[in-house]
Symmetry: C2
Subunit: 432 residues, 2 copies
């Protein structure tokens, strides 16, 4: 970032000084009550019904909320995909990802006015391209990068760009089970640009449509291809989970609109940074316009920080095998999935999907997808798996929100160790 | 922020170390080509037509873009309100506003799950309340704070919350001249929740409506009150400019929904941080829901930084008269307005509004509003003031975008000194 020609000694002094900062910050952090990402009682962005029912439960039964002294009384919230699992990696990674921003920096709305996406920080763009090249999970040549406040905003930017100028609302479809948030996001503005048309498998109109393809899929983890395959289709590929800790990287994805996010790649959900790789210039321009109208760009501070984190991931891949971010994360996911399958086997009440093994060109390893969410099915008589698990103080998201049966639930696999341990312990102990 | 019980010596060490960082960063920054906020050729978020015409100009006439050696050939873009004027204050303020964030911090989606606005950082909430109390520009007691990616996102959150559950699109009105962005933002999603109904002065339907009141007003700088005053009205007050560098603080604003932003208060537009003070709990809940659906919350990094900057402003008000942020900024604005009025007088081709003096309870000073935008009118035969100024390589925004005559233009008063100097120099030299 610093283009100083003679500043080597100062740079070194700065690095030393930063290292001192980080050491001091870490020391202080251990002493204070650090309440970010460690409160297990969060109630936010569940599905609407879930949030309100949990809130009413919590009012009538405060023990479910406030008792922490007994693990058996503790509510484990695995409803959403808060990726706090990654915190321990970044703690160990130390100071190289510490960001320092002075009060006078980054004040303007603008980042690079010669770029279509005028609010995209060039450093973030550079690091995103570098990471994709290292991992080999997406083609970046000849693509425009559009930054977003998470991929949620980019998904809406894509819908806006693809439906722009239409005479009637365009149908938006996704094959079940689909990400529960998609439907809410498509519907909440009652937009005249697009409308939710449900399961892609049953879409058979001879009209333009937009198909959303999440691969690996949220919630069930399977690799996905478009299912409608009609001539008037436009595709949006959500690759939030197409990273080598979750799934074999079989080839660089090469599609018109591809969405990525740091939330599920590096675990930095609080940054709210995502990016789209977009083939068509006019679509990139319209997506940029959407983000201008929605929020006049994207936080520069988080873009700086994202650039630094993404750089650290790439550096770890190139220079340090034992602390290679994807290797470390792959092993955590592998262990978690192994423990989940053991618990499911012990209990005998549930089932989980089986994923075919494939060769990962990034890691040179053959393995089956180990998704960020477990798509758990209650076998036998239990019709409402979410309620059943709720009675065991495990909060999950019902299959009904994903266009499927309530016999299914989606469970986050990315929570902190203590929660994950307790979850698998409780699951193994359940008997019908 | 740090609740260490024994960490005083470490805190001091940290402060020393941070000071060293800042000094080193400043030294390095002077050596590198720093391109944030200093490129005068930005093309982003103008009005759609403006952007494209400027882009085509720039293609056909590269001298307007690339020649910097002759000030007369330099394009001055005062179209938008990029508040880069404030950069010099924050450079002088030094290290106390430097933010340091480690790689493992702020990873979760959640900030405070016991708050309605679960993504609001408690530190930002605390500093926002403190600043309002010091300045006396808004009532904070009994209000819910909702954070947003700038007040642009909060404005849309307010529309969503107020129109929620209606059976037909609710009319959104604002008295002319109104902020040009409002209309675009209301219309771009073709929402079934609300629709643009234009000038509030001519609204006379006996139906629910939402009136937007910007005070001081963008573009013309006048203090505003609601103009429709019918029984079924809901009001959104945009107080982006209700700060003592721009206008006398006559009393704490006390309305149902009040929007603020750091962009125009402290000049940190690149942070994209705004906040709403909301009286009704259900409205605050729905606004929060909107921001969840729009972007799953707001950058934590920028919230941390905003908290630090807002704290520094409050500290400067309480402890340091000579570097009091609002005092320094008031005097800059005062000088700029004085120079603009001189230039207008010398030229004889233009006019600007006159603002009645009022007593400011914050500064104990009587003065007239000195707005962040100048609402300039071309007198005489010039019908298209924007084109006329464009011929002099001054980019402004035409009155037609604000629902007014093209004889008017809106001109940013918050650009950097070098641009502002050149602008007033050119203006004074113009003769009919």
């Amino acid at each position: 970032m610093w283009k100083s020609s003679e500043g080597w000694s100062m740079r070194h002094a700065l690095m030393l000084s930063l290292a001192l900062n980080v050491w001091l910050l870490l020391r202080l952090a251990h002493e204070r009550e650090y309440n970010l990402g460690t409160d297990e009682n969060f109630r936010g962005f569940c599905t609407e019904e879930k949030a309100s029912s949990f809130l009413s439960n919590s009012t009538s039964n405060s023990s479910a909320i406030d008792e922490f002294d007994d693990d058996q009384g503790r509510v484990i919230n695995l409803d959403h995909g808060d990726p706090t699992m990654y915190e321990s990696y970044w703690r160990q990674a130390g100071d190289k990802t510490t960001v320092v921003i002075s009060g006078w920096q980054a004040m303007s709305y603008f980042s690079d006015v010669r770029n279509i996406c005028w609010f995209l920080e060039p450093e973030l763009a550079k690091e995103v391209i570098r990471l994709h090249k290292i991992v080999g999970n997406a083609v970046t040549e000849g693509r425009h990068i559009v930054a977003g406040t998470g991929s949620t905003q980019l998904f809406q930017a894509a819908l806006y760009a693809l439906s722009y100028g239409g005479t009637e609302p365009i149908s938006v479809v996704s094959a079940t089970p689909y990400y529960s948030f998609y439907r809410q996001v498509v519907e909440y503005m009652k937009s005249g640009l697009y409308k939710w048309a449900g399961d892609a498998s049953s879409f058979n109109e001879d009209k333009p449509y937009i198909e959303l393809i999440t691969s690996p899929n949220n919630p069930d983890g399977f690799m996905r291809q478009p299912v409608v395959n009609r001539s008037k289709g436009m595709l949006v590929h959500d690759f939030a989970y197409y990273w080598p800790q979750y799934t074999p990287i079989t080839s660089p994805a090469d599609h018109d609109i591809m969405l990525f996010t740091v939330s599920k790649c590096t675990g930095h959900a609080g940054m709210r940074i995502g990016w789209a790789l977009v083939k068509d210039e006019e679509i990139a321009r319209r997506m940029t316009k959407y983000i201008e109208l929605s929020s006049i760009g994207v936080s520069k501070d988080s873009q700086f920080r994202a650039a630094k984190i993404v750089k650290a991931v790439s550096d770890s891949c190139e220079h340090a095998y034992d602390s290679n971010f994807f290797e470390v994360s792959y092993h955590v996911m592998s262990q978690r999935w192994s423990r989940l399958r053991d618990a499911v086997k012990k209990s005998g009440m549930f089932s989980t999907p089986k994923f075919p093994p494939a060769f990962c060109k990034y890691s040179n390893r053959t393995f089956g997808t180990q998704p960020a969410f477990a798509w758990l099915k209650c076998e036998g008589d239990i019709e409402d798996c979410e309620s059943f698990l709720r009675d065991h103080k495990i909060l999950t998201r019902s299959g009904k929100h994903f266009g499927m049966s309530p016999k299914y639930v989606r469970i986050s696999m990315l929570d902190q160790d203590s929660n994950y341990d307790l979850f698998t312990k409780r699951l193994s102990a359940m008997r019908s």
